[in-house]
Each structure stands twice: as C-alpha cells, then as structure tokens.
Symmetry: C2
Subunit: 392 residues, 2 copies
C-alpha cells in the first residue's frame, strides 16, 4: 500500500534527494568534493540565517547535541537546562555525562518554558561571583516529544543579558520554524538531516557563534570525534577531518536547493499552516491536544488519546488500513499520546490523509456519535481555504 510517513522524523525524502544520493563516490580530498562542501555550506547558511559556516558531521542529532556540549563546557561548569520534554532531558543528560553541574527549569508536558521563572533564575544567578555563574543555558526550540515550540526569540535576549552561552536544540524545527541564528545572537544551534532538511538520517549540523568558537578553544570537556576545532581547520580547505558521509551530502545539497526554491519564509508559512490544519482536524474529532495552544508546534502535533481508545490499535489501524504511520509517545507519555509529524517534504494533502486515517481508526473502535473522518478533513480544509483567502 502507498505509505504516508507522518513521523516527526525521519520525514519523507523527496525523489529528487533520493536520486541525488545515488551518485558514485568521489575523493573527499579532491576538487569535486570542495565544490560540494562549499555548496552545502552556503545552503546551510541560508537555512540557519547566519554568516557563520555551519559544521556537518556524520552522526545522529544526539551526536550534534553532544558536540554542542563538549565544545563549550568544562567539567564542573554550572548549566541551566530548560526542560520541556524528553529531548530537553536528553540535552541535560549529555551535559551531566560530561561533568557539568546541571540545574533544571522544567515545564509540565505540553507547556513551554516559563519565561518569568527563567528571568528570575537568571537574575538570581547574577548575584553570584562571575566565575560561578551559569556557563550555558540549554534550550529545546521544538520539543518533539510534546509538540511544543519554545519561544527562543524571548529566551535569547534574557540569556544574552545574563552572559551565558545559549545552546539550542533545533533538530525538529530548523528550516521549518523561524530561528534566525545571527539576529537572535544564538551561540550554538544543532539540527539533523532527517527533519525539515528532508534528507535521510545520518548527519548532524551545527552553527556556532564567534563566542562559541572561542569557548571551543578553552573548553576542557574531553572530546575527539566531536572536537569541532578539527572541522573548522578542515573547512578552511573545504575538507572534513574524517571521511564525510558523501551520499548524504549529495542528498543535502539537493534538499537545500529545494528549500531555496520554495523560499525559507514560504516554508515557515507552509509548516505553520500544516500545524493549524492538523490541530483543527484533531479538535473536530473531539480529541485534546497536549500542547498549550500558544506554543503549539508547526512541525509535530501531540494528541491526547482518549482513555476509551486502544492507542496501539489506533496506530495499527492507521498504518494497516490507511498506510499512515503515526508516532507514539515517548517515556511517560508512551501510553497516553500519539503524535503526527508534519514537517519536511509534507503538504496539506498529506495532513488530510493523516486526519482521515485517525478519524477512521477512531470510528473503527466504535466511537458512536463522535465526529468522523469527514468532519476532521472538513475542518482542516476550512483552515486551508482561509489561508488561501489571505494569500489571494
């Protein structure tokens, strides 16, 4: 059956990207590679909205988070982790693994970072001697586990006033939700190839500010493979310190070209629309959204599964009957939510298919009297038509 992958990653890879990946291997120390390296770098500068040169390395996104930590921190450094879900916890765990003293400002599942609490923590921290203050703040831009987008545009100026480095996990947002690296004065932003960048998994990508690069020169966390100074040195010759994942870079070059063709702003609008359509359809089905409406993500929607529904069966039905793959919940949320990814190479029609599949799966479990798939689709189409009205 035709498959519709509606995960928050890996996301569907466009044919153009899959085809690009079938190019033969080349010498990664030769001129042809230097051209590829430069094209990919320029494309990433566009997506990160930065003059800095992003670093690409073979790793999952988690490897990118580790690179952010080990290049900026030293054992014993105090760090403030803004935790809004499983990925915020992971970022904190990485910092702990490398010897940082991590303090956690946590939000309940579905809520964003509490800005007033953050302001208070940072202000209180400034009363300490400079050497004992938070060295870094770890933030998750888009918390994939709950479908919440944290307001980094509000967090960044607070952290900047404090003086700590701001490290941002943008794995499930970069390219889909606006996060202007230079304008916000971010220090490290991490993403992965398999989300809005529309490539297969296997590449971690990081941008570092000049301050972050300076931190890399003095940080004492042990590191080798993730020592970004080696990548910076290689980049001066348009090379990488270790063998680059060529096929994935061929794919990334192509997907970055597609992002340029659509235009970054247009991509942000598309993802925002997909988020609104998804939420409207889900609510039409009488289901609750996990995320606070003010911070609902444009790339992934977490849906609270009614207690009367067999969640596993719902996902199985969607997959087997409609060909739609939905994501489950992670950790504590495994038995209470499912998630719909709507990022990367995804359009309005894909959201309609996903909503129809969810509605059909609910109907199959005999939710008598409740709205069916047609109402979910109709609600999403209304959102789509409103958007078209605005554009016209």
């Amino acid at each position: 059956m035709k498959s519709h992958l509606m995960l928050p990653g890996p996301t569907p890879v466009p044919e153009r990207v899959l085809s690009a990946m079938s190019r033969p291997m080349i010498n990664h120390r030769g001129e042809e590679f230097a051209g590829l390296f430069r094209e990919v770098t320029a494309g990433l500068q566009y997506v990160f909205q930065t003059e800095e040169e992003p670093v690409v390395l073979p790793a999952a996104g988690t490897g990118g988070l580790e690179a952010a930590v080990v290049n900026t921190l030293s054992p014993g450094d105090r760090v403030l982790a803004l935790v809004t879900g499983a990925f915020g916890e992971r970022f904190a765990a990485i910092a702990r693994a490398f010897g940082a003293q991590v303090e956690v400002l946590a939000a309940p599942a579905g809520r964003a970072v509490d800005l007033e609490a953050l302001r208070a923590w940072l202000e209180q921290d400034l009363e300490r001697p400079a050497a004992e203050r938070f060295r870094a703040v770890l933030a998750t831009h888009n918390e994939t586990s709950t479908g919440v987008t944290n307001p980094v545009e509000a967090i960044a100026p607070m952290v900047s006033r404090h003086g700590a480095l701001l490290l941002v996990d943008a794995v499930s947002s970069l390219g889909a939700i606006d996060l202007p690296f230079d304008r916000l004065g971010l220090d490290v932003v991490v993403t992965g190839s398999q989300k809005a960048l529309m490539c297969p998994p296997g590449l971690a990508v990081l941008a570092l500010s000049q301050r972050a690069w300076q931190a890399a020169d003095t940080a004492r966390a042990p590191r080798f493979y993730f020592d970004l100074r080696s990548y910076r040195k290689g980049a001066a010759k348009a090379q990488t310190p270790y063998t680059p994942a060529l096929s994935l870079l061929y794919g990334l070059r192509e997907s970055l070209a597609m992002i340029r063709e659509e235009g970054l702003e247009e991509g942000f609008r598309r993802h925002a629309l997909l988020g609104r359509m998804t939420r409207a359809g889900i609510q039409a089905l009488g289901l609750d959204l996990l995320a606070d409406a003010r911070h609902a993500s444009a790339t992934v929607t977490a849906v609270v599964s009614p207690t009367s529904i067999d969640l596993k069966e719902l996902r199985r039905h969607a997959r087997v009957v409609s060909g739609v793959t939905l994501a489950g919940g992670q950790g504590d949320l495994a038995d209470s939510i499912f998630r719909i990814g709507h990022l990367g190479h995804v359009g309005p029609a894909d959201v309609l298919v996903a909503l129809a599949a969810v509605g059909d799966a609910l109907t199959a479990q005999g939710r008598a009297g409740a709205a069916g798939p047609d109402q979910a689709v109709a609600a999403a189409v209304r959102v789509l038509n409103e958007e078209r009205g605005r554009k016209a």
Copy 2:
C-alpha cells in the same frame, strides 16, 4: 570521463548498493526496521566471524575508534598503543583525549609491529601490580597510511596472556583480510562502511567481546552518544537508541548480501591477489614499495615516489588523462608516497587500469629508458594468470 576510484576509502559503491539506498524512509521504531536491523546484524556477524552482535552507529570510522576507547577505558588507565602510521597515531590520540596514559610502541613507516619488542613490553608490564598494568592494547590491523598489515593473529595471543583488552582498528581491512573475531579472542574490532563493506561512508561498526561489554559497564570515560550500552539495550528490541542512518543501512544490507554471495574466503583471496598484482606492476615500473614485503597489505599499496618525479603532477595526470584517482600520502609522507587502494568493489581489471595510469603518468614525465605502462600491466597479468593456474 569514466572514473576509477582507487582510494583506500571511500571505495567504489556497487550499483546494487546505490539502488538499495533509494528506498523511502520507514519508522525506525516499527517492524520493518526490526527486520532490517536483524538482517544487517546477521550479515555483520558473518563478516566479523563472531557470535556477538556488532553495533552499527552513524559516524565516521574515527567515531568508531572513539567508541572503542570510551567504552573500555577510564581516565588514568595505562594503555599500550602499537603505532605503525597515521591511523595508529590517531587511535593513541583518542585514548589520550579521554585521559588514558598512553605508551607508544612505534614502528618506522612501512614496518609492522615489532613482535619481539611487544613481547618484551608486555612481559615487563606483568612485573607491575595488577592494578597498574596496561588496561588495553590498541592495534591497527591494516595501517592505511603505509599499506602495512599488522599480524594481529600473532599479537592477540600475547595480549591475551598479558590480560589486557585488545582493541583493533580494522577500518580498512575487515571483510577483505581475514580477522576472525571469536577465534582470535579479540575484544573490540572497529570498521567503517566505506571500505571493504562497499557502502558509502557514514557508518561505524564495532564488535565487542563479553569482556569488552563488561568493561563498558565499569569504564569511567565520559560518554553519551558513543555509550554502547544504549545500543545494546536498543538491540534487544531490534532498535537503535538514536535515529539510525536508514539509507546507509539499506545499502549495508545489500552489500553484506554481496559479500555472502562471493564468500568471505573468496573475498580474502581476491584482495590478496589484487595486492600481489599491484605490487608486481609497481615493481615492474621500477618503483619502490613502502611496506615491508612480509607485511604488504592486500587492500592498499603505498608507492615511494622517485625524487625525479613531480608527485602532484603524477596524480593529476592519472586523474585527468586516465580517470584514475590515486590517494596521496598523509602527514610526513605527503610529499614522498602515493597510494593505490584496491579494496571493496574492485577486481583485477581495475588494478590493470590503475597500473596503466601510473605507468602513463611516469612516461609523461619523461622517464626515458624506464619500463612503461605495458610492462606494468604485463607483470600484473602474469600474477593473475598464476592465480588462475593455481585455481584450475
């Protein structure tokens, strides 16, 4: 022009593997992925010759070496590094980066590990109290930078008698040169996807002995992404802790099938033949081999460039005129050698093309009176015919 990539990695990727990589993304927490995971694991067990389940993770080979180090060592551990070239040095540098006290038994470029010296070091070390002895020995099976294959089959029993863990870099040998993991009692063996495994770069693969897994439970080197305990836990459910590099795994499944079809033993014989053909052709051209003849590699040949020859121009000529990409030397050897890779999806005809290209490039620099490409090819063909005679 038709391109002949004669590097010691990345190696040419077969069409079958490139095609396999164009499959669409799937849910990495679903049943289809579990099937892929199990097939790849079984194929790797065949190539590693082990009952253990190898671990695959998104990273360059260097990431795999780091995983070997951080999962077995603690800061302060004494380690003996057997260094026969640039990759041995890298392995030692990684151990140092994570706080090990590294002692180096080095061999001159082109020579293998001195077994008598190793025996003496290990015996002397046994006079220390048990807690202060070498915790691990780091060895390079095939030193890619010099074209030397170290006799791991002789090193392993010595290390075993001593009691240290034996960590082996087999990035440019596994699958091409016999290295039976279980039979030799190795503790960690690391390889990469882009060498004899005939895949694009981007995957590191490791096998660990039960002793090495026990070490992982007590080692205190800081680690997160490379903490192999997370991968072992995931493997119990045929999953990975972080998003796997799906496309590369599709490719690896296919290339592992090809290795089975050829048969591991036949692959070893083919690579040994390619090495003999290459060396015969190079010697017919009157060029010197860097490697000690007793330890010449079956996968990569390092050729000493005559001082009368412009080495850069030789490589450029081979590439531009014959379409043959040769590798340069690394580090101190950058100006004195070039290297011919003959591993992975490479056959006798490819070696003939490479030798003709080298001979032609030499002739173009006016080596009057010296043997030309025809003699190099003839010498290699004689080796090929001898092999055919043996088989018939």
